[in-house]
């Protein structure tokens, strides 16, 4: 799932300072699961914003709340209670995809991000989300025991641990596992250490988002739907 975290309150207040009619727009997808951008968080955020605005002498600012199943899918836009451009600003607390897509669907509207989108995570324990995939477009997991070196190694190295590993932790923080140490342990346990020593060719970063710009997936058999959405 995509994980996002709420922006600092001061940053949100500064973004919304010029506006009088604000919609806080929640998303029922990933951000509901990671408890950052669901309906409950939208209600809470709207009350906090109202209090903060009142304290700043702007009690007249109106904060509405809405939530749709997913902000990243055209079909759910029909769920919106009111068109977005009837607000001075929409504070979307979806991931960046939702913010961008809502903004595109409502050309006249000002859609602002309430969250910082960070990563593709697994929920590893109650209240804990850990990044597992870098979305690099050229998956290496078959050779690394299912542990992604692109995100679990701070440097995204593709050929084994660097000299910074210490008691299984990364040089960047003693609270963070060294990704290549995890890969080493996993391959050792699986009796596949020959994969560790395989010198891999330089990674094809052309498949990554930095390679050839924004990536796009099309399924030919579903193109009708794709056409409809564009």
């Amino acid at each position: 799932m995509i994980v996002a975290d709420r922006k600092p309150m001061e940053e949100i207040l500064a973004m919304l300072a010029p506006y009088k009619r604000v919609l806080v727009l929640a998303c029922g997808g990933c951000v509901t699961v990671c408890v950052s951008g669901g309906e409950k968080q939208a209600d809470l955020l709207a009350s906090q914003l109202k209090l903060a605005a009142a304290a700043a002498g702007r009690a007249d600012v109106q904060f509405d709340v809405d939530c749709i199943t997913r902000q990243c899918d055209r079909e759910f836009a029909a769920m919106l209670k009111k068109p977005l451009d009837q607000y001075d600003a929409v504070l979307s607390i979806a991931c960046g995809v939702g913010v961008g897509f809502m903004s595109e669907l409502a050309p006249q509207a000002t859609v602002l991000p309430g969250l910082n989108t960070t990563s593709y995570d697994a929920s590893t324990a109650k209240g804990v989300w850990q990044e597992y995939c870098g979305g690099c477009g050229d998956c290496l997991l078959a050779e690394t025991g299912g542990i992604c070196p692109i995100v679990r190694c701070s440097k995204g190295l593709t050929n084994g641990t660097c000299g910074g590993t210490k008691t299984g932790k990364c040089e960047v923080s003693k609270d963070m596992d060294c990704g290549w140490y995890l890969i080493f342990k996993k391959l050792q346990a699986a009796g596949k250490l020959e994969l560790y020593t395989k010198v891999r060719p330089a990674k094809k970063w052309s498949k990554d988002r930095n390679g050839k710009g924004a990536r796009r997936l099309t399924h030919k058999e579903l193109m009708e739907t794709e056409e409809f959405s564009k």
Binding site: S154, K155, N159, T161, G163, K166, A202
Partner: protein
Amino acid sequence: MTTTALNENTPVNPNEPVSRLQREFQAGHFVVSGEIGPPKGTSIEKCLHEAEEYLKHTVVAVNVTDIQTAVMRTGSMAISHMLVDRGIEPIFQMVTRDRNRLALQSDLLSAWCLGIRNVLALTGDHVAMGDHADAKPVFDLDSVGLLRAMTTLENGSDMGLDAKGNANVLEGSPKFFKGCCVTPCADEVEPQILKLQMKVAAGAQYVQTQAVYEPAAFEKFMTEIRKRGINVPVLVGIVQLKTAGMGKYMNTSVPGVKVPDWILKKLTDASKEDRQKISIDICGQLVREMKDMCQGAHLMTLGWDHCVPDIIKAAGL
């Protein structure tokens, strides 16, 4: 300008040494290398002076660090070239943190044109460790990838492809003496040895180690790598400890370095006036104890370059 070797041809014999460092290893001599760090700023006179005064006549080659610990400073290539001009053989350290494969390959060609022959391939500390923590870390290649890039350039092509999908052909190719790094006393040494195997497979011709203070652990490491057929020359890394506090800091903060109690005690017991001498003696003793296990020592005196001649004397070299 005294730029050297601009028109030098690639040696035909693949075993012909390209540098004094390589020649010394081939001759079976015990090799000592030193290290200087470029300054943060343009006042380079001091580091060049120290290299001329204390290193030129005492060591075979001088490492020039490359934006060490991710703290921004003057570049390794410029200072390496200035050493060439002063008759001092540089070891151009190159990290993969700050340049993608285009820039790395281009800088390798530039370095060769500037007379630089020894290159030490390093991954480099993460930007989070330095003074520009918001910089974008590159790491397009890692140290293994950089060694492969060098080998590719030496073979007359680069890492890219032409429009037809064929390897690009270089107009003139470089020939380096390629080094790499290893941490022999890491808490878990197996991944380090495996990585060293990969580096040698990728083209590394010699090894410079992280600081070692435990001769017994180093001996075990050397026996193990030789058993596995890693036969390239190894320079044991000696970081000069100036105070006991520095030793304790290394124990808690530097991965794969363990400073034993006898060293900490010696430094603690030393009076302020004696401390430098004690520190030199410790380095000398470490080199003496390990010199039969390896092919040389890499002295990292961290600004105390004036101690190098005395360390060499204390080591009985």
